[in-house]
Symmetry: C3
Subunit: 345 residues, 3 copies
Amino acid sequence: MLTKTLQELADYLGGVVRGDGLLKVNGLAPLEGAGPDKITFLANPKYASKVADTKAGCVLMVPGGESYGRNVIEIANPYLGFAKLLTLFYTNPHPALGVMPEAVIGTGVTLGEGISIYPGAVIGNNVTIGNRVVIHPGVVIYEGVTIGDDSVIHANAVIRERCRLGKRCKLQPGAVIGSDGFGFAPDGTAYYPIPQIGIVVLEDDVEIGANTTVDRAALEMTLIKRGTKLDNLVQIAHNCQIGEDCMIVSQVGIAGSSRIGNRVTLAGQVGVVGHVTIGDNVVVGAQSGIPGSLAANGYYSGSPVMQHKEWLRVMGNLPRLPEMRKKISELEKKLAEFEALLAKE
Amino acid sequence: MLTKTLQELADYLGGVVRGDGLLKVNGLAPLEGAGPDKITFLANPKYASKVADTKAGCVLMVPGGESYGRNVIEIANPYLGFAKLLTLFYTNPHPALGVMPEAVIGTGVTLGEGISIYPGAVIGNNVTIGNRVVIHPGVVIYEGVTIGDDSVIHANAVIRERCRLGKRCKLQPGAVIGSDGFGFAPDGTAYYPIPQIGIVVLEDDVEIGANTTVDRAALEMTLIKRGTKLDNLVQIAHNCQIGEDCMIVSQVGIAGSSRIGNRVTLAGQVGVVGHVTIGDNVVVGAQSGIPGSLAANGYYSGSPVMQHKEWLRVMGNLPRLPEMRKKISELEKKLAEFEALLAKE
Amino acid sequence: MLTKTLQELADYLGGVVRGDGLLKVNGLAPLEGAGPDKITFLANPKYASKVADTKAGCVLMVPGGESYGRNVIEIANPYLGFAKLLTLFYTNPHPALGVMPEAVIGTGVTLGEGISIYPGAVIGNNVTIGNRVVIHPGVVIYEGVTIGDDSVIHANAVIRERCRLGKRCKLQPGAVIGSDGFGFAPDGTAYYPIPQIGIVVLEDDVEIGANTTVDRAALEMTLIKRGTKLDNLVQIAHNCQIGEDCMIVSQVGIAGSSRIGNRVTLAGQVGVVGHVTIGDNVVVGAQSGIPGSLAANGYYSGSPVMQHKEWLRVMGNLPRLPEMRKKISELEKKLAEFEALLAKE
């Protein structure tokens, strides 16, 4: 079990100790339930009063926070600090296991140093695998694929021919990269399949959720840029381009040839039609439907989407619809009575 | 082919024969199309008159139903009886095939009695597998997993490290248990992945649909309780807790840390945001969006959800919206005319 | 690299050359970016003016289109011609690799001629595989399955027991055919699983997207007819019947026992409830919810669906809802003032 002093942790995180820098802790725990050998964190000011009651040996908090006499490491972003300490305490560097006996390796394969290729993985011909890459059991990599250093491919994921992954990419189990785009030309009586001869490119630090699918382009490439994270069961159609540092939440579907800017967040179950552009920094609420392009920096909701604030007002009024219709009928009736009355006069 | 007398079947089901208890049948068939060597069932009173025309040797029906002179087994729940007879006539106990040659078994693995592990399955180190468990080809089980007695894991499903399955669990093909939760801490310029060090626990009698994904918890456990059934392509995010005997229909997505009560039904494509609570016995209509907690025993629909009856009224009025707007304009115009008229007088 | 004269390509496509029929090209490229050794196409009249600027050696276009002095092949359906030339130039017949050493083949398996079965594929007992079928690594085929000639099963797809695939079927990676239908009979305290003893039948030329799931029928068959294409992450529940030449776009879910006609298009994320019928040639817009049967030849949108034109009008008015409610209040107030005024008179 790893043990660190608070001072060592503060140095590691770029933070400042208030209290006993020599105290040792050996792991992390929630505010409630943490013992004196654990470090905890306060990210949400809503829970600030819980610091008074925690038994934790130390609390990560923003500079100037109320310590209630606890040992504290002050750090600008306690949530990020928590994530970094989790990594420090609980993740081990993957031992290099090499190519295990029951793995199947094609011809012309280039293998980096420090790799692990598990039993049941099948690597096609002319694949290039970077240093320290881990390929779990049942993964299938078609010919000509390139995988950058330090990438991890979990069990039963599939990467089809010629696709390219950057460094530190992670695929969760069952993810599919490079399936054929959904392209068919009607010939008058049936559908003729259009060969999808392009590829998928994932830049560095891209993560792909479990059973998520990213289709290969018809001609050129489906591109997911640096740092973007896709949750589980997401669908990215052919020829899409997703910018840097986007968060694409579970069950989102993006139709063909759409372009998503940088730092875009699409919440769960959002649908985006094909051939549209979404600007940088856009946030879209869950289950929204996006039928056209969206300007940068907006917050949108609804199907079809509108400005989020407008959507809140509309949805707030929606339950009144039956009452509104009744009132209109009453108004019409009264007006008709007035008209009759005025006509009589 | 299994053959049983009606009396034997009545005894098996806890029902009562009206008619020829010695008649033998060898299987089940629908009301229409069943021959005299088959048993059929009447669950929906709407089809009661079809009993008159069936050629079936026997009809399962509720006590006191009109038999039209057919042999009948009276039973309180004919649909359940039908399910039990299907199991009796058509499902065979899986023969224990042991560990087949092309399966890969890690070190420190505990194997129960009467198991079958098919070729191409890969079992990690320190896995515990109960009695009579069946593991189909291509299944990947990471280290430290526990699987209870009589569970069935279909082809290419994946169970990641340290997750625990109860007894009689069933995973359909491609299901993923224990993928990393979708957790990232923004560091100002990019997203820092938060290690997901928790697990997934499936209690007894839980079934997981094809290509459904259940993410591991960040710290503790994602929990699915006894008897709950998940359909295909469902997403359960990290730290969720799903109660007992729930029915989660296809393509539902439940965001992180939400808690679902017992006997809840979520119809297809429902979305639930994170950190909410849904009470016991709640039913939610298809495609609904749940932005907050829901009280027990309700029936809800819509996105965002409202009471189902209210939603029916609102949706019934929605198509009138253009007409309503026109009427409001007309009312405004008429009132303006009155005002003008009154001003003149 | 394949090289063809324009006349050869025109003959192949059944088109007519205007210009230099002896010119040779060696591939396809988009209007912008094509060099003189490439052929391009104009399918959308919106881009007709780009023909003036293309450097392509030839443009596929409809008869009588403005050529701007370029070499042209006239053809009724340029998009289809483009698809056929892509196939001609860029797809190679898959070499017959036979049963590779690390594939696992059960007993009683019938193998056609010219097949390829890759390492890590597992074929159950009594499976029948047609001529020129390609089975990629990690595919699992349960016992008694039949696969027609020229079908392609991509990596880690699963076909469960006794299902039948026609000729020229294609399964993308991770597709699941024949998972158990989601059928449970409540027994008063819990859910009793109803054995799903039926199968799935895919007719000729059916394509199934990555990680799409098609459940086996309870008793008889889930049927997908000739030429129908399913995109990624689609859910087809048990006992459904999908007609010929349908396009079922990504993340659509169709509940049990529903029947879809021929040439139906369901756009992305559409949901269809169980036990309904959708007529031939119906088109349904993205994210729509279909709670009942739909007549043939219609275009529908919304959740719940209405005629597409009506839906456009309704959605156009929806953002006015808060304003409408305000106006109704004002009208009521004014009318009350009139009433007071009239009462006084």
